[in-house]
């Protein structure tokens, strides 16, 4: 199984993702530089990692989505290739129009770095298959623009197609206002496209996936991809 980690100028979770995929999960893993527009067909999935691509100038992800690699990522996604965007990677996928909605500044206006709980809403996707419905994943967030927004019509369409994959919840998996860290509409923490081959999530699964650390909840996302087989 082969996966790629895209590197933009300003990516800073790229090495964490690479480490988990290659050294912890033992997958063949390659870097993909953002200037590279070559086809990605050799990969079973690609990851757009977190960070501050192009300094978050204008809007987070707005400049990165113009990088040549995003043409390749879009071709890959349109052919059914699996793409996982984490944090800044999620922001880039939204700006590229590969996922519905947008991310606003956190309700508090502050950068939030803390461990939160999320509940799996749709386990029937290549990204959540290994989780089980209503499984609670404890995964950290670290972002300033993670306040998910979509208009009512889009939210309804997303609900109809099972495109909400994770919601912020309490430790028991209850989706409450108190458990919403950033003001996201309907506590949405992760979404997929209609075809379910592109996922964006604000929490960082790569930060809780190394057995050196007691919490391994993040592995569920990567294990789901592994269990989903070749792209």
């Amino acid at each position: 199984m082969k996966c790629g980690v895209v590197v933009f100028p300003g990516s800073n979770c790229d090495h964490d993702c690479y480490h988990i995929l290659k050294h912890v999960l033992g997958l063949s893993t390659e870097w993909i530089w953002h200037k590279d527009n070559a086809d990605l067909d050799r990969f079973d999935w690609v990851v757009l990692p977190g960070g501050f691509s192009f300094g978050d100038y204008l809007r987070a992800g707005a400049i990165a989505r113009l990088s040549p690699v995003m043409k390749a990522v879009t071709r890959y996604a349109n052919k059914g290739g699996r793409v996982l965007g984490i944090c800044n990677g999620f922001q880039i996928l939204l700006e590229a129009g590969l996922l519905p909605g947008a991310l606003l500044n956190n309700r508090s206006q502050k950068f939030i770095c803390k461990t939160v709980h999320t509940v799996v809403e749709n386990p029937d996707t290549p990204f959540t298959r290994h989780c089980g419905k209503n499984a609670v994943l404890q995964i950290p967030i670290a972002h300033q623009q993670g306040n998910f927004y979509a208009d009512d019509e889009t939210l309804k369409r997303m609900a109809d197609h099972g495109q909400v994959l994770l919601r912020y919840a309490d430790a028991e998996g209850r989706v409450t206002e108190a458990a919403n860290p950033n003001g996201s509409v309907q506590n949405i923490a992760a979404v997929a496209n209609e075809r379910k081959n592109v996922m964006g999530m604000m929490p960082h699964p790569e930060r809780v996936a190394d057995p050196l650390w007691p919490n391994l909840d993040g592995q569920s996302i990567f294990q789901s991809l592994i269990h989903s087989g070749a792209s």
Partner: protein, 82 residues
């Protein structure tokens, strides 16, 4: 030619910065303040293009990059420069 572009959140989109400024103005005694919208202002210098062409080109710039039309709306004016 100079394009002066304002980008602001669409109505209905939460604007916490605007809200914070609104409350701060009220705290200062400006009780007449009923709402604040905080946005971006850009000046884009253009050359070798007619005003008619610029109208369309600037709109395209806003749609493709300067605004995220999922959450933001924009308006602009064009002014001659020396």
């Amino acid at each position: 030619m100079l394009a002066k572009i304002h980008v602001t959140f669409k109505s209905g989109v939460l604007d916490p910065q605007g809200k914070a400024v609104h409350h701060a103005l009220n705290d200062l005694g400006f009780n007449e303040v009923r709402g604040v919208t905080l946005g971006k202002y850009l000046e884009v210098r253009l050359d070798g293009i007619s005003e008619t062409e610029a109208q369309g080109r600037v709109r395209e710039m806003c749609d493709k990059l300067l605004a995220n039309t999922v959450i933001e709306s924009y308006r602009y004016t064009l002014e001659p420069t020396d």
